[in-house]
Symmetry: C2
Subunit: 343 residues, 2 copies
């Protein structure tokens, strides 16, 4: 948790926030206090109206507390996924860290590409190459050992653009949204294409989401009793891919209820949004559209990571809310002092 | 919820309870009020002492609330599994219900055995035969359709010995234990070899355990968008067997934390008990031993269903509590008025 130098710009920004907040401090705006990083407008209103509709006693759309299930994608929805998925950066760093024990990697793809920093050759190795990377770096140890390796890496690694720990690069408006939904009786789940055991060590502290509410992709594990006690060994075999049509399957397997609200940012969330919203009763589907190259990254239909194409086309017909990050969020990260607009 | 005739024996029993309860009504015994169906003695004490140790502020064994995870087997631990697993009774009834659409079953094993009521021939078909039965009766419909089929059956089926709905045949002392643990900050999970989607429709009402806290065996599902909306179709392929060494795997996959207490009754729970208790810190492992032929069933090492052999041998060395159902429980079922002893 490093602190930024307090410069004139930050002070000015802080003053602007206070000034902008004043007109909304009356009782009529009291309901908005829990989403201060969301600018007033249709996007924020769609969230507030949905929550009012499903929680209001006597509302025709009232949903009892146990059924208030909300699912959130992680990469690109709760934290930054550019210039590459955080877990891929982890895998690449692990290849480098393990390379002295694997002299054969110097000539063997996709490892050679990683060691040479040749991203074009890595991309050419395709899905098969990526799976090989994951198996070589994520398997062959116990679940406890992997948790320690992932936690250590997250504590020391820094994002190439923001020069901060990856867990600082979570979206402040989404943290507020998670807290706001929980305050209204929702149970919040992560449903991510990322590795379930890569996320669980830190989601409780960072998002307030406990391990048992994290759904993700996984490799197989096997139970063994060693002299040191029982262990779960991580095997080099894919167990489940929690992406695209896998997301409704993962939701059904882990949660066993259909969500009433789902939050995503890419085509990998398309089927989760369909599964959540294409049914009777009041539902909320929301897509975070990355439109802010200055404060974060701007990308959609042509991005290698977090491509948003089919789901963006389908948003209007399905009544999904599309967040325009640049205009709907007055703050992207907690450390971000640059207020764009707050009308 | 049928009511038994109130006979003299029941009235006498009720009087005995009141009389027996009197000496314990002082402040020293106030902590015992939440487990009234458990007789005083070492078994009940082992539970009370464990809960006091992990919840007492300042206790050297104190465990923070989020880590108070307790896992319960279902068949034979929370409800009756004799004369056969409830889900097997369901599968056999489904074969009969579907047989008119499957004339080939009249001559084809294992279906012929089911239709002829030939349990010896069915047993001879082995695991392969059972898997065939499950695939023919549990797959080929959507998850919503399967939930309706399973719920309808549970509403109408009756246990052959007790002539009651199966959901009446849950153990009253275990219901009290679930509530007692939850009142002490535990999160209670089912971890069962039974089908996850066979349990979820009723565990919340019967046990107070919501669908997202149920772990079980499963078949594969696939997401499809039909004209009527999105569906998850149940496929005739095994996805996961949550039994024996599969239980720690299922716990890790669904919960992502190691339990501090586990409750089982058979060798299928052996590895879950090991995973829970063979580690540093205060832990509770408990085995329900079916010793009461009069009020329920008496079975262990030689039973086809719920065999308890290896785990019983290992109980002493591991410090697991073994419940002697006949002597430790003054009531087995809620409807059971026969008080055995309450000293």
């Amino acid at each position: 948790m490093s602190s930024l130098p307090v410069d004139r710009r930050a002070i000015l920004a802080a003053l602007l926030v206070s000034a902008a907040a004043a007109p909304f401090s009356g009782p009529a705006a009291a309901q908005d206090d829990s989403l201060p990083s969301w600018n007033e407008g249709p996007t924020k209103q769609s969230i507030l109206r949905f929550v009012a509709a499903v929680t209001g006693e006597g509302s025709p759309d009232f949903v009892p507390v146990p059924q208030r299930i909300a699912t959130f994608d992680n990469d690109g929805t709760l934290w930054c996924e550019q210039p590459m998925y955080v877990q891929l950066a982890f895998a690449l760093d692990r290849v480098k860290a393990l390379s002295s024990a694997h002299p054969e990697w110097k000539t063997q793809q996709p490892f050679k590409a990683v060691l040479d920093g040749d991203m074009a050759a890595l991309a050419k190795s395709g899905t098969r190459g990526l799976v090989e990377l994951v198996m070589a770096t994520h398997a062959g140890m116990s679940t406890a050992e992997f948790e320690a390796i992932a936690s250590d890496w997250l504590n020391s690694a820094r994002h190439p653009k923001f020069k901060r720990p990856y867990t600082d690069l979570v979206y402040q408006p989404m943290l507020e949204l998670l807290a706001y939904l929980r305050a209204n009786g929702f149970k919040t789940f992560i449903v991510s294409g990322g590795g379930i055991e890569f996320m669980r060590p830190w989601t409780e502290e960072v998002y307030g989401i406990p391990p048992e509410q994290v759904v993700g992709s996984s490799i197989k594990t096997a139970f063994k009793v060693e002299t040191g006690g029982p262990e779960l060994m991580r095997l080099p075999a894919v167990n489940f891919v929690d992406d695209g049509p896998g997301k409704p399957v993962g939701i059904n397997s882990h949660i066993g209820r259909r969500p009433i609200a789902a939050f995503g940012n890419s085509d990998g969330d398309f089927q989760m949004l369909q599964w959540t919203t294409m049914t009777a009763g009041r539902r909320l589907g929301l897509i975070v559209h990355h439109t802010d190259a200055a404060r974060e990254f701007a990308y959609d239909r042509k991005s290698h990571f977090g491509r948003l194409d089919k789901a963006l086309d389908a948003a209007e017909a399905n009544g999904w809310t599309v967040v325009d990050m640049k205009n709907d969020w007055n703050r992207v990260f907690k450390f971000d002092q640059g207020i764009r607009r707050s009308d």
